[in-house]
């Protein structure tokens, strides 16, 4: 018992995964949307989640982001049970997400959508805020500047003052990404960020995701139907089918997995 290794001896990213999902099941009436799914997402990686329609990918995201309670199993954050049960608490913990069917604040301007994402950093006493004290105003300007930087990152700085409802589809996707980044996440869940994009736009998005991963030292978990894109983008992939995790590993390994081929192309029998 004398040679217990010190934590420092092992690189942290090897020691504790950022996110662990253990034996997760989710039942809606007669439908088992997730069936005993386990996986671990390492710090700093781009982790892909693929599978046919109805495989339970979005349900898994919903359980991780506390929008849907699991029927069984648990989610660990840095190796510990998450001390939070509401989406806003998870956001403060460092989890951000985008939605498959875009959920922007349509009555607000593009800039204000990002400012709402900066909510957590804008705290000021209500009275000081209402009276517009010098400190509050300076802070407000800093946040507005930060919002514009994030918009520039996704190429929307020129649209900052437009209402979010007026943006075309692709730009709405990028705005949602900027809003998620504003919360300064450690783990970013992207639910079909490339849906409805043409191949050129998908390539751009690929580059953008890599850029933000490196620049913000993020861990990214991504759902996407476009398999070639996922093979290029992701460090590791998990494949879901009918709520079960049927494969997990590097893109090359997953590509060869007979169960994956069966799920996508049907059995040869």
């Amino acid at each position: 018992m004398s040679t217990v290794p010190l934590l420092e001896a092992v690189p942290l990213r090897e020691a504790v995964p950022l996110l662990q999902v253990e034996g997760l099941s989710c039942r809606f009436g007669g439908l088992l949307a997730l069936n005993n799914v386990s996986l671990a997402v390492r710090q700093g990686e781009i982790f892909g989640l693929i599978g046919p329609n109805g495989a339970g990918k979005t349900t898994l995201f919903n359980v991780i982001s506390a929008l849907t309670p699991p029927s069984a199993g648990r989610v660990l954050w840095r190796g510990a049970l998450i001390p939070a049960s509401r989406p806003d608490q998870l956001s403060r913990l460092g989890l951000a997400r985008t939605f498959q069917n875009l959920r922007l604040f349509d009555s607000l301007s593009v800039r204000d959508n990002v400012l709402v994402g900066l909510h957590r950093f804008a705290a000021s006493p209500l009275a000081a805020g209402l009276l517009g004290s010098a400190t509050v105003r300076r802070r407000q300007r800093e946040l507005e500047q930060r919002a514009l930087e994030l918009l520039a990152l996704v190429g929307l700085e020129d649209q900052a003052q437009l209402p979010a409802s007026g943006l075309p589809y692709g730009e709405r996707r990028r705005l949602e990404l900027a809003r998620a980044l504003a919360t300064e996440p450690q783990l970013l869940l992207l639910d079909e960020p490339a849906a409805g994009m043409n191949p050129a736009e998908k390539d751009d998005l690929c580059g953008l995701i890599r850029t933000i991963r490196n620049r913000f030292e993020l861990t990214v978990m991504i759902i996407e139907h476009h398999v070639p894109l996922m093979m290029r983008l992701c460090d590791r992939l998990a494949v879901l089918n009918f709520g079960e995790r049927i494969a997990l590993g590097s893109p090359a390994a997953v590509r060869q997995d007979p169960r994956v081929i069966e799920a996508y192309l049907g059995s040869s029998r």
Binding site: R86, R103, L130
Partner: protein, 306 residues
């Protein structure tokens, strides 16, 4: 204009803003008349039972009024704080029904308590202002202050969070907004405003009884906001002013007036589904108002001077 009517209109505008605050974060609360009644009852009790609040009889002291407004507002806000956590779990029409129930509960309690005067209510509430114009002036200052605060709020973190919740509550929660807390803050601010408006109204009306906080009042105050528009603070103010004035201005038409009033309330949402004042219309007015301002200062020639 008759200062008495003006005072009623200003009170209507304040109540409309009280309905507007929760609605700004998507919460349809009809509890405003209940909190209004609480404020009024506090004022009526204090100023008729406690000599230092009552003053000389002719006029009661202004500091007493301010203290009553503080107490009435705070009591309403405390009640909102106490019940808000539970009530605000309900959404949409269910919240509306629960808040109507609250108004009714408060009304029945006031009706059956002996110290609130039962069905007769409390009479002879002393007057802090000798004339209706005195009231109107004071209320105008209060309304201006509240409008300014509402306008500021729209620029602030809390105001943006409220708008975000109205647009998409789930997305708001996912970017880190404690939606339950923001909704509670809006509800409490709404109660505070209704409570202190009640204090003013009780003095102005000279008597106060349970009928003030009724289901009818819930619907009327909601109509202010629906008519005026719920997207900016200006909408409810206009709605409150116009719809309070209308029945009085229509008196010459005799019995027809209620029909006309009903028609206006009906046609408002049909012709202006978003209410009279929308952000787009305000923006459209922006250059026009700015131009008018400049013209008044004589810097640029007006369009008709060409």
């Amino acid at each position: 204009m008759d200062a008495g009517l003006l005072e009623q209109m200003l009170i209507g505008a304040l109540l409309a803003l009280s309905v507007y605050l929760p609605l700004r974060c998507g919460q349809l609360s009809l509890a405003t008349p209940g909190f209004f009644a609480i404020g009024g009852t506090v004022a009526a009790l204090l100023s008729t039972r406690i000599p230092s609040f009552a003053g000389t009889g002719a006029t009661s002291p202004l500091p007493a009024l301010l203290l009553e407004m503080t107490l009435g507002g705070l009591l309403a806000a405390l009640l909102a704080l106490a019940i808000g956590g539970t009530v605000l779990r309900l959404r949409g029409i269910y919240l509306a029904i629960a808040t109507i129930a609250l108004v009714e509960i408060l009304r029945v309690i006031t009706l059956n308590l002996s110290f609130t005067g039962g069905a007769l209510g409390i009479f002879g509430i002393p007057q802090p202002f000798a004339t209706a114009s005195g009231y109107a002036g004071f209320t105008l200052v209060l309304l201006a202050l509240v409008c300014w605060l509402c306008a500021r709020l729209e620029q602030l973190r809390l105001g943006r969070a409220m708008a975000a919740i109205r647009d998409d509550e789930l997305a708001a929660a996912c970017v880190g907004i404690d939606t339950a807390q923001v909704k509670l803050q809006a509800f409490v601010l709404s109660a505070l405003l209704a409570g202190l408006t009640g204090v003013l109204a009780a003095h102005f009306l000279n008597s106060w009884n349970a009928k003030v906080g009724s289901f009818d009042a819930s619907i009327t105050t909601l109509a202010f906001v629906v008519f005026g528009g719920s997207r900016t603070w200006l909408g409810p103010v206009i709605g409150g002013l116009v719809l309070t004035a209308l029945p009085e201005l229509l008196r010459p038409v005799g019995d027809l007036r209620l029909i006309v009033f009903g028609l206006v309330i009906l046609l408002g949402p049909v012709l202006f589904p978003q209410g009279l004042i929308t952000p787009q219309r305000l923006q459209g007015l922006g250059p026009w108002v700015a131009g008018l301002g400049q013209q008044l200062r004589g810097r640029v020639p007006g369009p008709w001077r060409r």
